[in-house]
């Protein structure tokens, strides 16, 4: 059993910070944005660290919390050995767990935090995640100034950082349940086709979540995946229908709906912040949905596995939110 129900875990506050491309995207109402990929730093990596520090500082000051008031800091990013989050965390004297599920790290951090809070071992937890288009591009693809041909189904890494504060005191956003996903390999070797790598794991996690809790798809007002993109979403729905006999109508993919058409990003946005920025700046502000299932999808490939032409693995974690 990998599904947990929670009675006293809530999201108290959240901060979103985005980069220049997201600022002019379909989304608006971010807490902060940057105009320059360097964010006043010497390298893109230092800029991403600064982004994380900025969201952590803002969430602490806005809630009048000291470092000593936070029981646990959870976070992750896309860069090797979590160097971004590790370095950002070193600026705070808070017990810290670095997490990696690629683009599913946001949900992983919610699940770890929620389980600690539910078991009353801690009272609150701060989660932080980030991705930076230039640091990711450089690690996973080509040099930034190199003009490689982009595939029609490739995606564009979102620049941004999101911090959220989990607590046991009641708020409007309840973390209701969660499902930890299994690592899934469906034999896809093309790292550009991330939607295809992740779609089977998203479907698997959805099926297990519904099965464990004896729920139907219609129980949720909205099922939202992280960054399957345009083609990954189609594959996800097909796999749900053919393999698990699930028909999904109340469905939306965050990554496919962030950038405008003219931003030329092919399949859409990717990166761990896709899901939370869409959730926090659009879904929660619209107040249209009460029961929301978030399925964060992560492609766990590394450049070594890609170059050796191995099949690529993905994992998806689900978190159910109830909004008042």
């Amino acid at each position: 059993m990998s599904t947990f129900k929670y009675n006293n875990v809530y999201i108290k506050d959240y901060i979103t910070l985005v980069g220049p491309d997201e600022k002019v995207s379909k989304l608006k109402g971010f807490d902060a944005s940057i105009n320059d990929f360097y964010f006043g730093e010497k390298t893109f990596e230092l800029a991403e660290i600064k982004m994380q520090r900025k969201v952590i500082d803002t969430i602490l000051s806005r809630n009048k919390l000291l470092e000593s008031n936070i029981d646990l800091l959870l976070g992750g990013d896309l860069i090797n050995q979590l160097c971004i989050t590790n370095t950002a965390a070193s600026n705070y004297y808070i017990p810290y767990l670095g997490l990696y599920s690629a683009c599913a790290t946001f949900n992983e951090s919610l699940i770890v935090g929620a389980n600690f809070i539910e078991s009353k071992l801690i009272n609150n937890a701060l989660t932080v995640i980030s991705s930076h288009n230039k640091t990711a591009e450089r690690q996973y693809r080509y040099p930034i100034e190199y003009g490689a041909n982009k595939k029609l189904y490739s995606s564009y890494t979102v620049t941004g950082s999101v911090a959220s504060l989990l607590t046991n005191a009641e708020t409007n956003i309840k973390v209701e349940s969660s499902t930890i996903g299994r690592a899934i390999d469906f034999g896809v070797t093309d790292a550009n086709n991330m939607g295809a790598i992740m779609a089977p794991s998203a479907a698997d996690t959805l099926f297990n979540h519904l099965n464990d809790l004896k729920r139907n798809v219609s129980y949720y007002d909205l099922i939202m995946t992280g960054d399957l993109g345009e083609y990954g979403s189609i594959l996800f729905k097909e796999v749900c229908k053919k393999k698990y006999n699930l028909k999904i109508n109340n469905y939306l993919d965050a990554g496919a709906n962030i950038y405008k058409e003219e931003q030329e990003v092919n399949a859409g946005a990717s990166g761990p912040v896709c899901l939370p920025i869409y959730l926090f700046t659009k879904i929660l502000k619209d107040k249209k949905y009460k029961k929301i299932l978030l399925i964060a999808t992560g492609s766990l490939h590394s450049i070594v596995m890609v170059n050796q032409k191995n099949t690529l693995v993905s994992v998806s974690h689900a978190v159910s939110l109830e909004v008042k």
Binding site: Y146, G147, G187
Partner: protein, 145 residues
């Protein structure tokens, strides 16, 4: 649904590149670079009185210099993508790959950064270029002399 069935489905859903359109764009852009090179060559020989052989070398230097400069200024990668590799085949692509790699690793120092990574993308061209040159020389020596 097993892996084979899924990969069939992936093939069906994933959009295909427009090969013909891409080839056409690359053909036109690559041809344009050729025209540009000839123009420079003509100007050098006719106006400045440079010898034919020297002018050919100057053309190469000018094209490499231009693509490196434009890469550094941040334009070339966008054009490169839009031209569907039309800018890749002439020497401009080689210079572009070297400059972009060097820029990328500048922050990691002269030796371990720029030195070790400048030929990250272009290295295979040099290596297999040398091997091919060697093999063809062997063929030439064995069969024709």
């Amino acid at each position: 649904m097993n892996k084979e069935e899924y990969n069939e489905l992936v093939k069906k859903v994933t959009p295909k590149e427009h090969t013909f359109k891409n080839c056409f764009i690359a053909f036109v852009v690559g041809g344009f670079i050729g025209v540009l090179a000839t123009l420079i060559h003509e100007v050098l020989t006719k106006t400045f009185g440079v010898s034919m052989d020297d002018a050919a070398i100057w053309v190469i230097i000018i094209l490499i210099g231009m693509s490196s400069l434009l890469t550094g200024l941040g334009f070339f990668d966008d054009w490169f993508t839009k031209s569907k590799s039309g800018l890749l085949i002439p020497i401009t692509g080689f210079a572009h790959s070297m400059t972009s790699s060097s820029l990328e690793y500048k922050k990691e120092g002269l030796i371990t950064g720029i030195g070790a990574n400048t030929f990250k993308l272009a290295g295979s061209v040099i290596l297999y270029g040398i091997i091919a040159a060697f093999l063809f020389t062997v063929i030439k020596v064995v069969f024709f002399l």
